[in-house]
C-alpha cells in the first residue's frame, strides 16, 4: 500500500514539477551553448544580450524551481489529507502511519528531483560554456580538485565527516516533517488554518533557535558569536546532531498523533 500511495503522490506532483524541472535543464543547456566564447569589440551586442537573457531566465528558474517544489509538496499534503480528498484518502484501508510515511518519501523525491535538475542544469551550463571557450579540461580539473579535497578531509577528519553526513540527512528529514507538523497544528484552529500553520512554523523555528543558542552558549561561551566566527567543537556538532534528531522524532510523532487523533475534515 505504501508504494501505491507514493505512486499517486508522485503522479499528482510530477504534473507540475516535471515541466518546470525540464525547462530548468533546457535553459541551463541553452545558457551553455549560447555562452559568448569571447567578449570583445567584435562580439555583437545581440549575442551578449541573448546570453544575458538566457542567464537571467536560468537564475529565475533556479528560484522558481525551489519555490514551486516547496509549494507542490505542501499543497499535496494539504489537499490530499486535509482537503476534500481526505474523505477518500482516509477511507482507504491504510494506516495513518503509512499515509505519513508516503507523504515524507514522496516529498523527498520531489525535492530530490528539484535538486538533481539544478545539478544537471548548471552542469550542462558549465560543460557547454567551457566547451565553447576551450576550457573543458579545466572543468575536469576543477571537479577533480573538489572531490580530492573532500576525500582528504574525510580521511583526515573521519569523525567530523560522519557527523556532517548524518547532520545533512537529519536536517533534510527535519525540514520536511517540520512543515507537515506546522500544517497539522494550523489544522487544529477553527478558522484561518493556513495562517495558523505559518504562525506555528515561525514559533517552532524560534524555539529551535533559542534551544540551539543555549546549547551553543554552554559549549562555546557566547553561542551567537561562536556561530558567526564558525567555531565548532566536535562535541557541539554531535550535540546539535542529537538535538536535531530528537526534534525530528518529536515532529514525526506530533504529526502522526494529530493526523490519527485530531483529524477534522470540513
Amino acid at each position: 500500500m505504501l508504494g501505491k500511495l507514493i505512486k499517486y503522490d508522485l503522479k499528482s506532483m510530477f504534473r507540475s514539477l516535471l515541466p518546470v524541472c525540464g525547462a530548468f535543464i533546457v535553459v541551463g543547456f541553452l545558457a551553455g551553448i549560447s555562452f559568448p566564447n569571447t567578449i570583445d569589440s567584435d562580439t555583437t551586442s545581440g549575442v551578449v544580450l541573448l546570453w544575458g537573457t538566457i542567464l537571467f531566465a536560468l537564475i529565475a528558474l533556479t528560484v522558481a524551481v525551489s519555490i514551486i517544489s516547496l509549494i507542490i509538496v505542501i499543497t499535496r499534503f494539504y489537499k490530499n489529507l486535509l482537503g476534500n480528498e481526505g474523505y477518500l484518502s482516509f477511507t482507504l484501508p491504510v494506516t495513518t502511519g503509512t499515509h505519513l510515511a508516503a507523504k515524507c518519501i514522496s516529498g523527498y523525491i520531489a525535492f530530490a528531483l528539484a535538486v538533481i535538475s539544478g545539478i544537471i542544469s548548471y552542469g550542462l551550463f558549465a560543460v557547454f560554456a567551457c566547451a565553447r571557450t576551450g576550457d573543458l579540461d579545466e572543468i575536469g580539473e576543477f571537479f577533480n580538485g573538489i572531490f580530492t579535497a573532500i576525500a582528504e578531509f574525510a580521511s583526515a577528519q573521519m569523525h567530523y565527516a560522519v557527523v556532517f553526513v548524518l547532520m545533512a540527512i537529519v536536517s533534510t528529514i527535519m525540514a520536511l516533517i517540520k512543515i507537515y507538523f506546522s500544517i497539522m497544528i494550523g489544522h487544529q484552529a477553527s478558522d484561518h488554518k493556513i495562517l495558523m500553520s505559518f504562525v506555528a512554523y515561525i514559533v517552532i523555528t524560534i524555539i529551535e533557535s533559542v534551544i540551539s543558542n543555549i546549547i551553543g552558549m554552554v559549549f562555546i561561551g557566547v553561542g551567537v558569536f561562536a556561530s558567526l566566527f564558525g567555531e565548532m567543537t566536535f562535541a557541539f556538532a554531535v550535540t546539535t546532531l542529537i538535538l536535531n534528531t530528537v526534534l525530528t522524532i518529536g515532529y514525526i510523532f506530533g504529526t502522526y498523533y494529530l493526523l490519527n487523533n485530531r483529524l477534522n475534515l470540513e
Binding site: M1, K4, Y8, S12, R15, N80, N84, E85, G86, Y87, L88, F90, T91, L92, P93, V94, T95, N261, L263, N264, L265, E266
Partner: protein, 231 residues
C-alpha cells in the same frame, strides 16, 4: 452480531455535543435511512464509523471491530463532499480504486459508466456536477462491500439524476450488505428504505421498520418526519 453497532457513543467539539450517548444496532441486508435536520449528527455518526473522527466516549464497531484499515476494506463510503481528485481521468480513478480496494468490481463499474456514455478519458475536473456525482456513486456502488454509507447521495442533483442514483443504489449493492442513506430529502428515498433512524441534536429519537411506522402512524415517512421535526 450487528454489522454496525454504537455503544454509548458521544462526540463533542468543545462545549458542543454532536452525538450524545447514542446506542444503535443495524443488521445486514437492510437499507436504513439516517434521517434528521441539519446539525442533528448524521454526518458525524458516519465519519466516526469511517474512522475520520475519534469518539469522545463510547465505542463504534464495524462487524465487531473498531474502525481500522480492516474495517475500511469492507466499508464503501460516498461522502457528501466531492472527494475525487480533479486532475484524474475516469480511467485513472478506476485504477486507483482497483489498486486500493480488493472488493472493487471493475467490470461492474465500467458497465455502469458505459450505460451513461461517460468518456473514460475525460478529466473529472472537466465534468458537470451531475456527472461527477454519478461517477462518485458508481465507484462507491461498484464495490462488493458489507456496509455502504451514502451521505446525501441525491442532494444537489436534478430529479432525473436522483431517479438514476436511487435505481443504481438498489440494483447494485451486495444482497447481504447494510446500506445506510443519510439524507434530508425523505420523500425521494422512503420507497427504498427498510428502516428509519431519526436523529435530533445528537440523539436517536426513533429506530423502526418503515412499513410498520407508516401503518402505525397512518402517514408517509416524510409526513411523519415533518411532524416530529416541526419547528
Amino acid at each position: 452480531m450487528a454489522l454496525l453497532e454504537l455503544r454509548q457513543v458521544s462526540k463533542r467539539y468543545g462545549n458542543k455535543s454532536a452525538l450524545d450517548c447514542v446506542d444503535l444496532q443495524l443488521e445486514e441486508g437492510r437499507i436504513v435511512g439516517l434521517l434528521g435536520p441539519n446539525g442533528s449528527g448524521k454526518t458525524t455518526l458516519i465519519k466516526l464509523a469511517n474512522g475520520l473522527l475519534r469518539t469522545s466516549n463510547g465505542a463504534i464497531l464495524i462487524d465487531g471491530k473498531e474502525p481500522s484499515p480492516e474495517t475500511k476494506s469492507i466499508v464503501s463510503y460516498l461522502p457528501d463532499k466531492d472527494s475525487l481528485p480533479d486532475w484524474m481521468k475516469v480511467d485513472d480513478i478506476i485504477n486507483y480504486y482497483v489498486d486500493f480496494f480488493a472488493d472493487f468490481d471493475v467490470d461492474r463499474a465500467k458497465e455502469m459508466l458505459g450505460s451513461l456514455n461517460i468518456d473514460s478519458k475525460m478529466k473529472l475536473g472537466k465534468m458537470s456536477k451531475g456527472t461527477r456525482e454519478k461517477v462518485r456513486l458508481i465507484l462507491a456502488m461498484a464495490r462488493k462491500s458489507k456496509i455502504y454509507f451514502l451521505d446525501e447521495p441525491i442532494a444537489g442533483v436534478d430529479p432525473a439524476a436522483r431517479d438514476y442514483i436511487l435505481k443504481t443504489i438498489i440494483s447494485n449493492y451486495e444482497p447481504n450488505a447494510l446500506v445506510i442513506i443519510s439524507t434530508h430529502l425523505i420523500a425521494d428515498v422512503e420507497n427504498v428504505l427498510d428502516e428509519a433512524v431519526f436523529l435530533r441534536e445528537g440523539h436517536v429519537v426513533l429506530h423502526q421498520n418503515v412499513q410498520e411506522l407508516i401503518e402505525e402512524k397512518g402517514k408517509s415517512l416524510d409526513g411523519y418526519f415533518r411532524e416530529v421535526f416541526a419547528c
